[in-house]
Every structure is written in structure tokens, then in C-alpha cells.
């Protein structure tokens, strides 16, 4: 029996009734976050969830921590203000593909390049759910939706490629229903100092059901998922017999099979989280030719934005409450 003070996953749930559609992938992510926070033993009062608008952004209402449901796309900017005012707080930003990559794409870009020390989880369901099913910036070409009855003609954005391009120093991927994996990734994100970007493939049961089945379903997973581990070879498939290597003389990945054509384990590339070029190549892999790369694509820490902001403030001197000195600084003269 654990001592009564121990924090359990359910202690991070608020008393509010969850209002997502039955079967929504968001439930699984919520559970994973509850478990992550319980495992980490973080304090509720120092944890803040900030979200924008959309299905995913209702998330803070279901947490027993501090929570702020803001306006569409602006959660990263508001979270930046939170960290500027109190860098000690543990801040999580919850966003979606529309919120974080369309209306709020600019703020996602800047929070990542500034490297504000927070964790940003982007729920990617490739659809606008709350507004009833329009195609989103991550929807694949040809997506039929109320606003694109003949199929969408926009090219989709890749969330992780965008994050890497923005200069994110931690980029990872997971799937809503793969509880142990998602928890492990969220813990890595939390441990990372600086902005952590986690894309979670999330199934929308109502408007885009099964859109990720080709790599998330039980049948497809083995051949279509590549689980990245720093320092380990890029192996996947049944009995981990398949691997990735660079094509001879080209900056291009290819799938090889161990034991075929003289391929040995040494021929397979080893994952290096600090290698940006490798992260970019892995991010772009798509079925059916390649597996989807999951796990930590890139992790190369650097000082956080707010740490440097406060270093400059200390360098500037003070702090002082002397308003008199403020008003008198510079050139003054006296009238008798």
C-alpha cells in the first residue's frame, strides 16, 4: 500500500466531466499525461497547462494543475509570457494541427526557435474536429471534407519537419494509444531543458477515423513503425530484420534486410539524436516505402530563452525599488 501522500495518475485529473467524443484519441493522451506527471512526481501547483482552441485545447480543463484555455493559436505566446514572469513553473502547451500549424504557426515557430523551456504537445489528427471536419494543414492531398468536396489540393505540412526547421532542439513523435511509448516520450520531453516538441498522431473517430491505421494498426505496426533509440541501429520489421542505411554515394535512405545481399548489422545506420540532418531524413520517411519514425528524432540541448533573459537582467544590475533614482537619472537641474 503506497503512503497516502503519494501522487497517483488520477490525482492529476480535475473534477470536470470530460467532453470529448467517445473513442477520441484525446482520452488516451490525457491518461498518458496523468501517468507521466504522477511518475515524475511533479507538484500540481507548479505545473501549468496552456492551450489554444480546438478539441485538444480543452485539455487543461481536465487537469487538476493550473490551466489556461486561451485563444486560437496563441498558446505558445501566452506560455512564453508565463515563463518570462516565472521561469520556475513547469509549463506544458497543448495544441493541435490547426491551432499550432495553421492559425498559430507563427507562434509555434517562434517559441521553438527561442527555445523557451516548455513542453509543447501537438495533437495531430489531420482534421478540424471542433468546427465539424474541415481539412487541416496536415491533411493529405485529396482529403474530402465539407470545405473540400472534391478533395483538398493543398500540400500538407509535416509537423516535425516544421519544428526542426524552426530550430527546435527536441523533436519527438508518438501515437495516442501506445501508452508506454507515449509516457516515455513525454518524460524525455519534460527532462529536456528548452522547448520540447512532441507530435502525437491522434485518431479523430468522428471526422477522420482510421487516418493513421496504415502504420498504427496492430497488423501494420511491425512493418510500418521504426522506433528510434539513441545509439542503437535503425531496425524494424518482424524480428527486427529490416534496417535503414544510406544509399551508396547518395544522401538518401534505403531499406535493407539483414542477411540478404551480404547485409550485416554494421551496415545499418545508428540513431544519433544530435544529428540534425539525420533527424530531417527520418522525419520525412513515409509508408509504404518506409516505416514512420517514432520516438526522439532530435535532442540537442542549448540554454533556454528565459535563462538568457534573466542572465541579461542580472548583468544590467539591480534589482532596485528606488523610484526616486529612476526619476532623477540622466540630466537634471535645480530651480531655487
Amino acid at each position: 500500500m503506497p503512503p497516502p501522500t503519494a501522487v497517483q495518475a488520477k490525482d492529476f485529473a480535475s473534477d470536470q466531466e470530460v467532453r470529448w467524443c467517445p473513442g477520441c484519441g484525446d482520452y488516451a493522451i490525457l491518461k498518458a499525461v496523468h501517468k507521466t506527471l504522477a511518475d515524475l512526481g511533479v507538484s500540481k501547483e507548479r505545473t501549468v497547462f496552456v492551450s489554444g482552441i480546438g478539441c485538444s485545447s480543452r485539455f487543461p480543463y481536465y487537469m487538476s494543475t493550473y490551466g489556461f484555455h486561451t485563444i486560437h493559436g496563441r498558446a505558445p505566446a501566452i506560455a512564453t509570457g508565463v515563463k518570462l514572469a516565472n521561469p520556475e513553473l513547469d509549463v506544458w502547451v497543448i495544441t493541435g494541427d490547426g491551432d499550432g500549424l495553421s492559425i498559430g504557426g507563427n507562434h509555434t515557430l517562434h517559441v521553438l526557435r527561442r527555445n523557451v523551456n516548455l513542453n509543447l504537445i501537438l495533437f495531430n489528427n489531420e482534421i478540424y474536429g471542433l468546427t465539424k471536419g474541415q481539412y487541416s494543414p496536415t491533411s493529405r492531398r485529396g482529403t474530402k471534407s465539407p470545405s473540400t468536396p472534391q478533395g483538398s489540393i493543398d500540400n500538407p505540412v509535416s509537423a516535425c519537419a516544421f519544428a526542426l526547421g524552426a530550430g527546435a532542439r527536441f523533436v519527438a513523435r508518438s501515437i495516442d494509444t501506445t501508452m508506454p511509448h507515449l509516457v516515455q516520450i513525454l518524460k524525455r520531453a519534460h527532462a529536456h531543458q528548452g522547448a520540447s516538441f512532441v507530435e502525437v498522431f491522434q485518431n479523430c473517430v468522428v471526422f477522420n477515423d482510421g487516418v493513421f491505421d496504415h502504420f498504427t494498426s496492430k497488423e501494420a505496426a511491425v512493418e510500418a513503425q521504426l522506433h528510434l533509440e539513441h545509439g542503437l541501429p535503425l531496425l524494424f520489421g518482424k524480428d527486427r530484420q529490416k534496417g535503414l542505411r544510406l544509399k551508396r554515394g547518395r544522401l538518401e535512405l534505403e531499406v535493407v534486410t539483414l542477411g540478404e545481399n551480404g547485409i550485416a548489422l554494421d551496415d545499418v545506420l545508428v540513431h544519433d539524436e544530435k544529428n540534425l540532418v539525420m533527424a530531417q531524413m527520418l522525419t520525412g520517411l513515409q509508408p509504404p516505402a518506409f516505416p514512420v519514425a517514432l520516438g526522439v528524432l532530435y535532442c540537442d540541448p542549448a540554454p533556454s530563452y528565459e535563462a538568457e533573459v534573466y542572465a541579461q537582467i542580472r548583468e544590467a544590475g539591480g534589482p532596485t525599488d528606488d523610484v526616486g533614482a529612476l526619476l532623477r537619472h540622466g540630466r537634471t537641474w535645480t530651480v531655487d
Binding site: G67, A77, G81, L326
Partner: protein, 621 residues
């Protein structure tokens, strides 16, 4: 040589003077004006300045649209405006002459650099022939000096390139004007040395040499008829320590003083570059030791959102912009209104709509401030009257924001942002105090527990144990803060938000009369930076025996409780505004008074003479 100026005999006395320095935007007219301002303040005159410059950073040389000007009005009297008419125009080239001559009073003095009146410059300014050679300047006193040549000669020993040497012309002209009005040069020399001394001693020394040469020219030139020296006696000023202060500096100091008065530990200022508001970001970025965190956001929206995030976290979030940027912040303001967080938004208004005229002043964002949001979303709006008033108004903005848990809009404008005046430095110990208490007690807590009197909700800051809660833009239940779509609750919350802001009328001073009695034939009602010209115009009208009063409104939403009654005491109400009639509509719709508009949207402030003639037109039979 010594830089102490001996008191001279033979100087004529003037009680007030208006000078405008005008030249190319690369001629250093703003620096020249600013230095003349410092020396004038140190000489004990009251003063008011008006920097007027183009939006282009370095417009093509010699063109009329590239002219940059700095006007200063100083004197022994109480100086209220930068001046209607110029007594002296210093024109560094033909373009500066042609664009500014119309403001010079008849028989005023025009000082021109004749060396800059070559064919090319004349052509660019649109002159068919040289105005220095014909009768076109006959009604003025003209002082033609080859400042270009005189400058090049005096800086020769420093072996500068032609370009750097010519850049000293403004200091020569400044030296002459400092001599003409008996000002010192010490501060200017100190400032030149500070600016160039380390980087380039030759440039520093050349500028000082040019300054001294211009000064010496005045003293020694045998031009007794054309070149008259003046004395402007000290203004009668209250004893104490003074400084010059621009509206931007005063806002920055006031925001800091307000945050200190509230007991909050941090001011988080978050802005995005925009003319003319950026200066506030620059000023505060240099004041970090006073508990200031500055953040240059990626856009206007992020700027207000970061400020909201900071306020949510227990700092005072402040953001600033000009009209087009404020438009982008609108949704953020709605969020701050909905979740009831303190925030100060400073709008340095400029001529619009759209990009409009970024460096020109206007006060046309009043509707935007009071009405310009979706839904029923009231917030307090206050406006500053003068550069020094910006200090008090900024403190007041902070008081209302933290006292009522509401965003507050503080309106200034391009004129106030840049203009400067002498300021009797207040005793910091005498400043207001309004300590803020964060909620810490979990007993009976929810985030929308309200103060019975002010209706302000509690401020519960992340990091406080036991107060974990969720807030958001979705309508909140009155009694818990939880999401609520209940119809009656929305009515109640809308009514409560309205009543909270309306109740501020009980917590602000009654509307006073700035000049004149509480009843009469005519009240001239203004707000914002029109204070100076209206006050001067009403003064002049009253001196003529006209029955007119000046009412200046600081609180634009809510209005002071007695405003309607006060306006009812006058036969007529005239509302001069640098917009097409915004306050006038608000007064008419709120109080059903037959107020009349007086509109000016030229990008320039009212002249007191314009106010005076409008008063005469309404009161003379």
C-alpha cells in the same frame, strides 16, 4: 577657450520664442533640436517641443518629402504648446525652406545655408529661381550664411572626409542659435564627446569645433543689423529638481512607479516594433534593474498574449502599439476582459487608417479603444494630456488594472510620444500606493470570487498551493469559474463585467474645469494631447473677455460621474479633436448634449489660434 557665456549687453529681451530647425532627414535636425532643448531647459525656460519627421529613414537628399524638422517653443511664461507660428526658421536647404516657410510669421527671421542653394537642390525643391536672389523672402528678415563653407573651413584641421565634414553643419547652426539666445554649450559638448569621443575623436572634435565656430560667428561677425542677440528670462518655476521628459519616458517611468506602488515584483513589457510606439520598448529595455522584463514578440498578437501570460503569472503585463497593431491585439484584449486579468495597453496613436502616416499624430483611435471589440467587452480608457502627464496617467492605468483585474487602454499619440517639456521631478515618497494582495487561502476559493465593492475577481497565481484552477475564454460560471453555457449565467456575467467597469466612475476624481467657471456660454472640451493648444486658445479668448471654459477629460471610459451635469451648465459645447469627431459623438450619445465638433486631421497638432478663432466664431455676435 572657456565655454561659459558672459552676460552680454545689447541683447534684446523676448518673453517667448518659437524656433524650427529644418533640413534633410540626414542633416541631424532631431539631434540639433534635442540639444537646443537641453540647453534651453538648463537656461531655466519653460518649453514645449515638436519633432516632425518623415517615415523614410533617409529619403533622397534635397527632396521636400525628406525634410525633417524640430520645433521648440520656449520662454519666461508658462509654455503650453510648441507654438503656432515660427519666430525663427533655420533652413538647411531649399526643400526645408519651401516646406516650412509658410509657418514663419511675417518679419520673422529665416536663417539659410546659402551654400546648400545650388541649382540641383533648388530644382529638387521645385524652385525655378533662387529665392535668396529675388523678392520672394521680402516680408521676412533673411540671414544668408554659407554654413556649408564656414563649417568645412572650421573642421579642416581634423581631416575628415567631405561627407563627415558636411555632417557638422548642424552643429555650426546650433552654435549660432545658442549664441543668439544666450544659451550655454557645455551639455552639447558633453553629449558630442559621449556619442563620438571613444569611437572617433576626430569626428567628436570636428563637431565641437563647428559648434564653437557657429557660436563665435555670432559673437564676432559684424552683422549688427541682421544678427540680433536676445535674452529670454527664466520662467517662474516652482523650486525643486527638474529634468526634461518626453511622453515616452514619462510613460515608462510611470509604469514602473505604478508597478512599485502595487507591490508587484515584475513588469513584463511585451511589444512589437511599430512607429511611433517602439520608443517605449527601447526605453524600458534600458530599465531592467527596476524589475522590468522586456520581450520583443514575433507579432502584435504574440505581444499582447505574452503580456497576458505574464499577468496570469502574477506580474503586470504591459503591451504597446499604434492603431494598426492595436487592431491585431483586439482578440487578446477580449481574452483579458473575459478572464479578468490586469493588463495595460499603451496606444501611441498615429494618422490612419491602415498604414496612414506613421510619423504623424492623430487621436482617431478613441472609438477603437472604447468600442472596438467583438461582443460586450468594456474596459477602462484613459488618455494623457502632456508629456509630463503621461507619468501620472501611466500610474493611474496600473492602479485601475490591478485594482479591477481588467485590461486598461492608455491613449497617447505621436506628438506626446516624441514631445518633451521640463518636469518638476516628483518626490517618490509622495507617489500613490495601492498594494495588491494575491489570493493564497484555499478556503472558499474559486477563481471568480469577487470583491463586493469593486467586483474585481481574486488574483490567484500559479505556484500557489491549493489554488490550482482552470480559466479560459469559454464563459465561466459566476459561482465557480467552471465552463458554463447557462443562459442566465451569461446574462449575469455580462452584467457583472459591465458593472465592474462602470463602477470605476466611483473611484476616479470628479470632472474639473481646467480653465474658467463651472457655467457659462461655451465649454471647449478636449482630451489627450490637444490640451496645450486648447488651454492656450481658451486663455487668449478669456483675455478678450469671452465667456468660455476649458474642460479636459482624462477618463474616457467610464466618464467621470458629474460630466453630464457639468456640460449641461454651458450654453454651447465645442469639442476639438484630431479626428473626425469621436469624443463629440460619445458625449452626444451619452448625455444628449448638443456638442459640436471641431475636427483637424492634417497630421499636425492644433494651433491655439485655430481654437481661438473657433471660440470667437461661436461667441461673437
Amino acid at each position: 577657450m572657456g565655454i561659459q557665456t558672459e552676460p552680454r549687453t545689447g541683447r534684446e529681451e523676448r518673453d517667448q520664442v518659437v524656433i524650427r530647425f529644418a533640413g534633410d532627414s540626414g542633416d541631424g535636425m532631431q539631434v540639433t533640436g534635442a540639444q537646443f532643448t537641453v540647453e534651453t531647459a538648463l537656461a531655466g525656460n519653460d518649453l514645449s517641443t515638436f519633432p516632425d519627421f518623415p517615415a523614410e529613414i533617409r529619403a533622397p537628399a534635397g527632396t521636400t518629402f525628406g525634410v525633417s524638422a524640430f520645433q521648440i517653443h520656449f520662454g519666461a511664461l508658462d509654455i503650453l504648446t510648441p507654438g503656432d507660428e515660427l519666430d525663427v526658421l533655420v533652413a538647411m536647404n531649399p526643400a526645408a525652406l519651401t516646406t516650412n516657410l509658410g509657418d514663419l510669421r511675417p518679419s520673422g527671421l529665416v536663417v539659410v545655408d546659402s551654400g546648400a542653394f545650388g541649382d540641383r537642390n533648388l530644382q529638387k525643391a521645385g524652385y525655378k529661381q533662387n529665392p535668396l536672389d529675388d523678392e520672394s523672402l521680402a516680408k521676412y528678415q533673411v540671414l544668408k550664411l554659407d554654413i556649408t563653407r564656414l563649417t568645412l573651413e572650421c573642421v579642416k584641421p581634423f581631416e575628415l572626409g567631405q561627407k563627415d565634414a558636411l555632417r557638422c553643419r548642424n552643429m555650426w547652426a546650433l552654435g549660432l542659435m545658442l549664441w543668439m539666445y544666450g544659451r550655454e554649450r557645455a551639455s552639447t559638448i558633453e553629449s558630442i564627446q559621449k556619442k563620438f569621443g571613444k569611437k572617433s575623436p576626430a569626428i567628436a572634435n570636428a563637431n565641437v569645433a563647428a559648434l564653437n565656430a557657429g557660436h563665435a560667428f555670432g559673437e564676432t561677425a559684424e552683422l549688427s543689423r541682421e544678427l540680433v542677440a536676445y535674452t529670454v528670462p527664466k520662467a517662474r518655476q516652482a523650486p525643486g529638481a527638474y529634468r526634461t521628459i518626453s511622453g515616452t519616458e514619462a510613460i515608462a517611468y510611470g509604469l514602473i512607479a505604478g508597478v512599485k506602488a502595487s507591490g508587484l515584483r515584475k513588469l513584463v513589457f511585451s511589444g512589437y516594433p511599430i512607429t511611433p510606439a517602439s520608443a517605449l520598448l527601447h526605453t524600458l529595455a534600458g530599465l531592467k534593474p527596476y524589475g522590468v522584463v522586456t520581450f520583443q514578440a514575433e507579432d502584435e498578437i504574440a505581444a499582447i498574449c505574452a503580456a497576458i501570460g505574464a499577468s496570469y503569472t502574477g506580474a503586470l503585463g504591459v503591451t504597446s502599439s499604434s492603431g494598426p497593431g492595436v487592431a491585431l491585439k483586439t482578440e487578446g484584449l477580449g481574452l483579458a476582459i473575459a478572464i479578468e486579468l490586469p493588463l495595460v495597453l499603451v496606444n501611441s496613436q498615429r494618422a490612419g487608417p491602415s498604414t496612414g502616416m506613421p510619423t504623424k499624430t492623430e487621436q482617431s483611435d478613441l472609438y477603437q479603444a472604447v468600442y472596438g471589440r467583438n461582443a460586450d467587452s468594456p474596459l477602462p480608457v484613459i488618455a494623457a494630456a502632456t508629456p509630463a502627464d503621461c507619468f501620472d496617467v501611466a500610474i493611474e492605468a496600473v492602479r485601475l488594472a490591478v485594482g479591477y483585474m481588467t485590461p486598461v487602454i492608455l491613449l497617447t499619440d505621436g506628438f506626446l510620444a516624441n514631445a518633451a517639456e521640463p518636469w518638476l521631478i516628483p518626490d517618490a515618497r509622495g507617489l500613490p500606493r495601492f498594494p495588491v494582495t494575491f489570493r493564497t487561502d484555499p478556503a472558499g476559493f474559486h477563481p471568480f470570487v469577487r470583491d463586493e465593492k469593486t467586483l474585481a475577481r481574486v488574483w490567484a497565481v500559479p505556484g500557489t498551493p491549493g489554488l490550482e484552477h482552470r480559466v479560459g475564454g469559454i464563459e465561466r460560471a459566476f459561482g465557480s469559474g467552471h465552463i458554463s453555457y447557462d443562459p442566465e449565467n451569461h446574462q449575469k456575467m455580462t452584467d457583472t463585467r459591465f458593472a465592474k467597469i462602470a463602477g470605476i466612475a466611483n473611484d476616479i476624481p470628479l470632472q474639473g474645469v481646467a480653465l474658467g467657471g463651472p457655467r457659462g456660454k461655451l465649454a471647449v472640451v478636449g482630451w489627450g494631447s490637444t490640451f496645450g493648444p486648447i488651454q492656450a486658445g481658451v486663455q487668449a479668448a478669456r483675455a478678450e473677455g469671452l465667456d468660455v471654459a476649458h474642460i479636459h477629460i482624462r477618463y474616457l471610459n467610464p466618464f467621470p460621474q458629474n460630466l453630464g451635469e457639468l456640460l449641461g451648465g454651458y450654453g454651447k459645447v465645442l469639442v476639438p479633436e484630431m479626428n473626425n469627431g469621436q469624443l463629440v459623438t460619445m458625449l452626444r450619445s451619452t448625455y444628449l448634449v448638443p456638442a459640436e465638433k471641431l475636427s483637424k486631421v492634417t497630421g499636425k497638432p492644433f494651433k491655439s489660434a485655430e481654437i481661438l478663432s473657433a471660440i470667437r466664431a461661436r461667441l461673437e455676435p
